[in-house]
């Protein structure tokens, strides 16, 4: 057993600093050791994340940015790259980029520049994308994220990990292409062309698919908290490209491949793990990995080479001549007489920061002495933490029961109906009543979820009404329970035999063979704690 150590620890597997002891990491390596039977392979993953900036108009034009609008209805002459049009930078996009940079601990560049990246694709009408290659808006920074590892027969372990960022840049999104294979043509919708994107580039600090998915989840949570991106992966407002390579420990990184446009957490995990295994298989059989761009097919769970890979890619970057450098000022450096509507001041943007998910987790872990896993779950659903804090305020309800009800049953109801906390009609008082029943062990544990579901559908019902109607109260009557135990022992010799056998091994008192039949006779409504108590007393005398 690994001793629990405090303070940051360097993991001997991934050589990275961990906040808590990376017990989970031991299993983390399972994936790779499974695939590479003869020798250990290390996988290295770095991500490029494109996050659409939540502004009403585009990065360089005044066209709208709504999702799912009629085709080509949100296109300005600039977005269609008509001659004579010029880019005019959206101040909110700059502010959103800086706010995100601050939330991720990045250093904001006082001066950043725009560049043109050239490539020909029908959804990029200008033939180039305006991006920030040489001098991005911000650089460095890191994201601390919670990683879970579920292990067989054990509850998930949670640990805090950290992934460094290289840079954050502003750039234009492209249009959307619909490929019509039958007619050999592409259909182009430019509604998305020119929407502001933040591109985040990470260091190759991630190890595998689940690790990367945990990172992206945390990033999504941060972006939603500060409101700079809605984070809807299914609508493409948060997209992930992954760079993946494998190598032997002690050797330099292997040749990497890039998997483009992954659009869900599950696919992040699946695509990366598939790619790691594919590369290991190639290398194990003596082949070599080709540096190429691949895409993930969610139906077959495979990555496939992209059809038009350009071997000699040359983006011919050049400074964007139509945009002077972008300056970000602080209170001292604001030029005298500057129009405050037309400049961005760092301190003003900083005021938009809120309590970030990592800070929330740390605060509630300390304030309520709850484990990281619970803290992380509470923080991961918008508004859930507020419900929790309201319920446990001044010790109104038992905290353990509140956590149990919220994290198991309430969250389950939210998922079932695809509700946000704000949309969920269950009244706060009702949740409190349920928590009290759970705390007093007066209610059948398995019925809590069903009851919450009913409360979500018929919020006018009271908890007491449901409990009485469905007879959900636990049987607390000690006499009755004692009677049933004796009944079982007398009428079911098999049970007694099993009990004798189990308890002859000297491993302490074993009750398990008895509990099932007793609960069965009690219609699964017996109070587990009381049954256990009484059974212990009886068996001690009997055996």
């Amino acid at each position: 057993m690994a001793a629990v150590r405090k303070g940051p620890v360097v993991c001997k597997f991934c050589e990275r600093l961990h906040r808590s002891y990376p017990q989970a990491h031991l299993l983390q390596r399972r994936l790779i050791s499974d695939t590479a039977s003869s020798s250990e392979w290390k996988s290295v993953v770095g991500l490029e994340i494109h996050a659409q900036i939540a502004t009403s108009s585009k990065l360089f034009s005044g066209a709208a940015t709504k999702f799912g609008e009629p085709i080509n209805s949100q296109v300005s002459p600039f977005d269609a790259a008509l001659p004579g049009t010029l880019p005019v930078l959206n101040k909110e996009c700059v502010k959103a980029g800086i706010l995100t940079a601050l939330a991720l601990g990045c250093t904001v560049n006082r001066m950043s520049k725009f560049d043109r990246k050239h490539y020909f694709y029908a959804d990029l009408p200008a033939g180039y994308q305006i991006t920030q290659q040489r001098q991005p808006l911000a650089h460095s920074g890191h994201v601390d994220y919670v990683h879970y590892r579920s292990m067989k027969g054990q509850t998930d372990t949670a640990e805090t990990r950290s992934c460094r960022l290289i840079q954050l840049q502003l750039e234009q999104d492209s249009g959307k292409s619909l490929h019509d294979a039958e007619d050999q043509q592409s259909l182009i919708d430019l509604n998305r062309a020119g929407v502001g994107l933040m591109e985040l580039v990470t260091q190759p600090d991630l190890t595998d698919g689940e690790d990367a998915a945990s990172f992206v989840k945390e990033l999504q949570l941060i972006l939603r908290t500060i409101g700079t991106c809605d984070g809807k992966m299914q609508e493409g407002s948060l997209r992930v490209d992954a760079n993946i390579s494998v190598h032997k420990p002690g050797e330099p990184f292997g040749v990497r491949t890039e998997v483009k446009n992954i659009n869900s957490f599950r696919n992040v995990s699946k695509a990366i793990d598939f790619e790691i295994q594919r590369q290991v298989k190639i290398l194990e059989s003596g082949g070599s990995v080709e540096n190429e761009t691949r895409s993930f097919d969610a139906e077959t769970n495979e990555t496939v080479p992209m059809r038009d890979k350009e071997k000699l890619l040359d983006y011919r970057f050049m400074p964007e001549p139509n945009l002077p450098p972008l300056y970000v000022y602080n209170n001292e450096s604001v030029p005298p007489g500057a129009d405050t509507d037309r400049i961005v001041v760092l301190e003003k943007v900083r005021e938009g920061l809120r309590e970030l998910p990592g800070e929330k987790r740390q605060r509630i872990q300390e304030q309520y002495s709850i484990p990281l896993r619970s803290a992380s779950l509470l923080v991961s659903e918008e508004g859930l933490l507020e419900v929790f804090e309201e319920l446990v305020k001044d010790g109104a309800h038992d905290m353990k029961s509140v956590l149990r009800v919220l994290l198991h049953d309430y969250l389950g109801v939210l998922r079932k109906h695809d509700y946000t906390v704000a949309q969920c009609p269950i009244k706060m008082d009702a949740i409190g009543d349920v928590c009290d029943l759970v705390a007093a062990q007066e209610i059948i544990p398995a019925s809590v979820y069903k009851m919450m579901c009913e409360l979500a559908e018929k919020p006018e019902l009271s908890v007491k009404e449901i409990v009485d109607r469905d007879n959900l109260r636990l049987i607390q009557d000690r006499k009755l329970i004692e009677q049933v135990i004796f009944e079982v022992l007398e009428s079911e010799p098999k049970v007694l035999k099993k009990l004798r056998k189990a308890n002859s091994k000297g491993n302490g008192l074993v009750l398990k063979p008895l509990l099932g039949p007793v609960q069965q006779r009690l219609d699964q409504r017996g109070n587990h704690v009381i049954i256990t108590e009484i059974a212990q007393e009886i068996l001690k005398k009997m055996l």
């Binding site: 009629p70 350009e310 037309r342």
Partner: protein
């Protein structure tokens, strides 16, 4: 200084008006000794293929290659300019502050006008050839003569 001198030359050609005190009244230049320039290397067929693909411009004929050759030779003149200690000039606007726009929807909703530029449309989509526009693989007559 160098930057302003080059700028001055440009303005000198096109405008008699004095735009800035830093722009000289008269253009000045020194003739370039072309023998000091690096020789233009022979252009291989692969390079022509590559450049055609990148630029989507077809130029693999005698005239096109001569132009490419001339362009390289012209650009080679830059080798003899001493740029030690000179920061590259990205834009002549680099001392201006970048104008920032309010986040307001002021454009769009002009589908008909936007689509009126397209030669083929389908259900309000622009229609384009599939994927990257592939250059025809068939060898042109002139390409065959290249190495």
């Amino acid at each position: 200084m160098l930057r302003y001198r080059l700028l001055g030359q440009v303005y000198g050609y096109f405008s008699i008006r004095q735009l800035s005190s830093k722009v000289p009244n008269k253009p000045t230049w020194t003739p370039v000794d072309s023998s000091k320039l690096p020789q233009v290397k022979e252009i291989s067929r692969e390079l022509v293929d590559h450049l055609e693909r990148l630029s989507l411009v077809e130029f693999s004929n005698e005239e096109g290659l001569k132009r490419l050759n001339d362009a390289i030779q012209s650009a080679n003149q830059l080798y003899i300019v001493n740029t030690d200690g000179v920061e590259p000039l990205d834009t002549v606007l680099e001392d201006r502050s970048l104008y920032l726009r309010k986040d307001e929807v002021t454009e769009g909703n002009c589908k008909e006008e936007i689509l009126s530029n397209a030669s083929i449309t389908e259900e309000d989509f622009f229609v384009a050839p599939p994927g990257n526009i592939p250059l025809k693989k068939t060898d042109k007559e002139y390409k065959g003569k290249l190495k």
